[in-house]
Amino acid sequence: MPIIVNLDVVLAKRKMKSVELAKLVGITEQNLSILKTGKARAIRISTLEAICKYLECQPGDILEYKDHE
């Protein structure tokens, strides 16, 4: 998929653990893992909003478009 999820990079920069973020955002660790591994088919605006709020970042920091060519 040409959309790359850089959540683990942002988490490392903020020195925050996935468990902690999952609790703050209000989603399960399993769902956060789905997002981190790029398996997610869709992301809710509310989830993205909460992630950006707690990681103090922009949606573009988490999601990146990379063309395969």
Binding site: N31, I34, L35, A40, R41, A42, I43, R44
Partner: protein, 180 residues
């Protein structure tokens, strides 16, 4: 009680009932052929109208042939019931949409078609077996396609459509599960 709990409870009961049928239906077929000479004539309708003949006892050889012929529709029917039972075991566990469900619906529909075909063969064989003791010229081969078979085929069509809808439900469910 929420809807899923109701589905689980209802499915548990239906699963039990279907398990009971898996045992009882073969027993019925066995006892039918074992006690065929003692059954009321209304259950063996070949020798009744329009040419009533003196009922004759079935020799053991024909009883065995009859029983083995009955295994044809019986196996298809048991396969249908076990498929439906498996479906309800998934519902009992709270699994509503999965690829397995779709596959079970399709298998059930195909097995029902097979059941209709094998039932026609069985009924035809029964007509030969029951009229085998009649005098020459009064023996019958009855091949029938009645409203019961048509109804089953309509059900098959409905089950295929349900399988199709279930597949769409499965895709939606997967989308939901992979939405964060």
């Amino acid at each position: 009680m929420d809807n899923l709990s109701k589905i689980k409870k209802f499915s548990k009961n239906l699963h039990l009932f279907l398990s009971f049928l898996v045992v009882v239906i073969p027993l019925y077929y066995v006892s039918y052929w074992v006690f065929v000479n003692y059954l009321p004539e209304s259950l063996i309708n070949v020798n009744i109208h329009p040419t009533p003949l003196i009922p004759n006892e079935l020799p053991i050889k024909l009883q065995i042939i009859g029983f083995f012929t009955s295994l044809l529709p019986l196996s298809a029917l048991i396969y249908v019931i076990t498929n439906i039972r498996k479906l309800f075991s998934f519902y009992r566990e709270g699994m509503i949409f999965s690829f397995e469900h779709v596959s079970l619906f399709k298998k059930t529909a195909k097995a029902l078609v097979l059941w209709v075909i094998l039932s026609i063969i069985y009924e035809s064989a029964k007509s030969v077996i029951f009229s085998a003791g009649n005098p020459p010229g009064s023996r019958l081969l009855k091949v029938g396609f009645s409203s019961a078979e048509i109804t089953t085929l309509v059900v098959v069509g409905i089950v295929f459509i349900i399988a199709w809808v279930m597949d769409e439900g499965r895709i939606l469910n997967e989308e939901k599960e992979l939405t964060v």
